[in-house]
């Protein structure tokens, strides 16, 4: 593999880094032969002509190429303006202190690199080092905004040129990190390259209007306009849920009716609305479990002043202001109904966005009580309120830890205690818990698949999770043995679903996936057996 240096980012070369499948670490059986692995589709000539594509072999942002010197100059000026604002308390009080500390105190020991699944599974491709994009930004920050920067930046950090190529490549590079912060966990000093990638995305979005369309226009903006990034308005979501209730009633033999807009309920359940669209059995299982346990709960159909039925908050991944807008509307949904607490469904980033990140955004009555579905489900499972027959889950099960919920929130054990109780063949991946690896779809990648980015996700960012899943099931990899990857997070499920499909893992290895609540309902004695439908694949 050709080496890439930090200063290459501004050089006039076709591509700074290159992905070659031959460089990637091999996968376990049955994907240990090259022929068993799908090809990495190259970018089309049209895409290369139309968009900036000279970072690596894929594109996320679809940035148009500057037409002339004037356009090039504008890119550089806007970037510098954004960089200045990124280090101002007025525009970035939210992360100024951690960002500054990470910028100014890295020892450049490269300890973090080995913790990064993208760097490792790319065959140690230089441009995917957690330190690569950080050092580019660091050199620019010192060069342009520190006293004597022109001289001292070179002395302290090495030289770098700032031109339009630097800017657009850096924008793309901000979207080659899952923001899982596994690298930060290993830094002896506490430098956080995940945060640097996060704040780079913020600079590009908040100052330059450069973002992944899937996150912004089709994500946060759509959610703020109609109530959900899925595009579902209140009428449609209620209609869909009614259908799910009917289906779940049929599947479980229970009478399921999701309560809507019930004032003063104990619990407001907010799902990632993607569950309702793509994994209706997830909502069905929640409804069945809550019904069986006699929980006083409701869903909210608000979509105007408040957002009540879609807990996604993609602002977490790229733009603080969008995060704040959505978080406030989520809180208002709880306030308007006067519920005692909000329970977040199986969505990792929504957990972190609303519970942790928005904690210092929400004040007064908006500071509503927020809780994870993991703890509530544990409470129900161990309370004896529902009858359970673990023998219905007599198949190999493993647990994927969503980074946002586990490493970044410390919700580690409830889901494990549940699985140990209800899944006799549950076993852990290595490593797991707070040392887990990202699924590869983190930071919004799971919903991004433009151009050939799906190939990049499947071959690079998802490769480590794929390796972990295949390894944990290596003794029963025979496709006739049905296996279940429990991923209590919509984003992670999206990524794992795509990996199963891309690599044909159901047919070749008997691997299926789903959430946690489905496993509970699958063994709930109030429900008919067979809630999990293996034939889906």
């Amino acid at each position: 593999m050709k080496k890439a240096s930090v200063s290459d980012i501004s050089r006039d070369v076709d591509q700074v880094g290159h992905v070659d499948l031959a460089d990637l670490p091999p996968l376990p059986k049955p994907y240990n032969e090259t022929e068993s692995i799908p090809k990495f589709r190259p970018l089309t000539d049209k895409a290369k002509e139309s968009y900036v594509s000279d970072l690596d072999d894929t594109i996320v942002l679809s940035l148009p190429k500057p037409k002339n010197k004037g356009d090039e100059g504008i890119l550089v000026r806007k970037f510098l303006s954004g960089l200045e604002k990124l280090f101002s308390k007025e525009n970035n009080w939210t992360f100024l202190q951690p960002l500054t500390l990470s910028m100014e105190n890295c020892a450049k020991c490269q300890t973090c690199n080995d913790a990064c699944h993208i760097y490792e599974m790319s065959g140690n491709n230089d441009i995917y080092r957690p330190t690569y994009r950080s050092d580019i930004l660091r050199r620019l920050y010192f060069k342009y905004f520190k006293p004597g920067g022109k001289f001292f930046s070179k002395w302290r950090h090495g030289d770098i040129d700032l031109n339009w190529r630097t800017v657009v490549r850096l924008a793309e590079l901000a979207y080659r990190c899952n923001l899982c912060r596994r690298c930060a966990q290993t830094c002896p000093i506490g430098v956080d390259n995940g945060l640097i990638a996060h704040d780079l995305r913020k600079l590009f979005s908040s100052e330059m209007g450069i973002y992944a369309k899937e996150l912004h226009e089709n994500g946060s903006v759509l959610q703020l306009k109609v109530g959900s990034s899925t595009g579902m308005n209140p009428v449609i979501v209620k209609d869909n849920v009614e259908f799910i209730d009917e289906d779940t009633s049929e599947r479980t033999g229970m009478k399921i009716e999701t309560p809507w807009d019930k004032k003063g309920a104990e619990i407001l359940l907010i799902h990632n609305a993607g569950e309702i669209m793509s994994w209706p059995e997830n909502h069905g299982a929640f409804a069945a479990l809550f019904t069986a346990a006699g929980i006083d709960w409701t869903m909210s159909s608000e979509a105007e002043e408040a957002i009540g039925y879609d807990n996604i908050n993609y602002g977490l991944f790229y733009d603080d202001m969008m995060l704040a807008k959505v978080a406030i509307k989520h809180a208002k949904a709880a306030v308007n109904l006067g519920v005692k607490k909000v329970v977040l469904g199986e969505c990792g980033h929504a957990h972190k966005a609303f519970t942790i990140i928005a904690d210092r955004v929400l004040t007064g009555e908006l500071n509503v009580r927020r809780e994870s579905a993991m703890t509530l489900m544990e409470d129900i499972v161990f309370s004896g309120k529902v009858g359970l027959d673990p023998s219905r889950n007599d198949f190999p099960v493993t647990l994927h830890d969503p980074c946002n919920m586990v490493r970044l929130m410390g919700i580690v054990q409830p889901q494990r205690r549940i699985l140990k109780k209800i899944a006799p063949k549950f076993k852990e991946m290595t490593p797991h818990g707070v040392n887990n690896y990202c699924c590869g779809g983190g930071s919004g990648f799971a919903i991004m698949s433009g151009h050939n980015f799906q190939d990049w996700k499947m071959h690079i960012s998802g490769r480590k999770k794929m390796e972990q899943i295949l390894n944990v099931f290596k003794d029963e990899i025979d496709p006739s043995i049905q296996k279940y990857v429990c991923a209590p997070c919509s984003n992670c499920k999206g990524q794992i679903r795509d990996m199963i499909s891309y690599y044909d893992m159901w047919n070749k290895a008997g691997i299926n996936y789903g959430g946690l609540v489905e496993l509970i309902v699958n063994c709930m004695t109030d429900a008919k057996p067979g809630f999990i439908e293996w034939e889906v694949y």
């Binding site: 202190q97 990470s102 105190n105 945060l195 703020l224 202001m321 410390g410």
Partner: protein, 311 residues
Amino acid sequence: MSITVLFHLITYAAITTFGLVVAIRFVKIYKMPMHLRWELYPVAHEAGGKASYGGSRLEEVDWWTKPKERSTFNELKVMIPEMTLLVALWEHNRKLWWRSFPFHFGLYILTGLVGLIVLGALMEMVGIEVSANAGLGSLVYYLTILTALGGLSLATIGCLGLLHRRLTDEGLVDYTSMSHIFNLGFFLVVLGIAWLTFLFADRGFEDTRAYVLSLITFDLGAPVGSFLVGLEIFLAVILIAYIPMTHMSHFFIKWFTYHKIRWDDEANEVGSEIEKKVLEQVMYPVTWAAAHVNADGKKNWVDIATEEMEK
């Protein structure tokens, strides 16, 4: 002004610079706005066994009704080994640990050496002789020498190891700047002169102790002892003044990165100090230029965050 007076003044200035730079940088960082929560688990002060696997109070149903338990013991269990033994490096970069640990631990021992020299000077100031045959004074005398031998050995080995790695490790080449080489080189020069001073000029640290005593008593005219002793002291104090101006200031920066970021899991409660700070900070005017932010330099965070998107 005589050379000895100037020498003393440089020493005072260097030590003051060290203290001032650390204090100024500390205050500057401390006074930055409160950031959003950005903790990373395990959080060391979690109690009830949670710290061992990285759990938090968010694992409890109705967590806000439970008392917030904080374990100083758990925190110290992580902090002390991290500070003394560089545990994170041991766990995540063993190759580097074999170089970095002796360097850092050597520096800790050398810090202890400075303490012993100051102690010896104070003892002499009150009339207790510090020498090879002086009862209590001999204990300090020999301990000083042993500490110097241990500290210098470890620090020198570590420093050479770090420099060697910086110059030869392929993965580090692109991330090694002139300042890295200069910093390690500077340490090597100071350590090298220290060895020469110890071996050939001041084996019992009598001259150094006398100089420190003159610093304590403001006896600015007191002679420095020998050229090597003077050179060593000069270089060492310049190095001390220089350290907090570089990324080597992580000796105090880590307090922020660990306690104020990684382990800052303090929840915001209505009417709390945190809420007061949030309310103050959301009044900052915003100047981000992207159209969707819709900022004008007058609108603050509240204005923008509560503004409806165009439908």
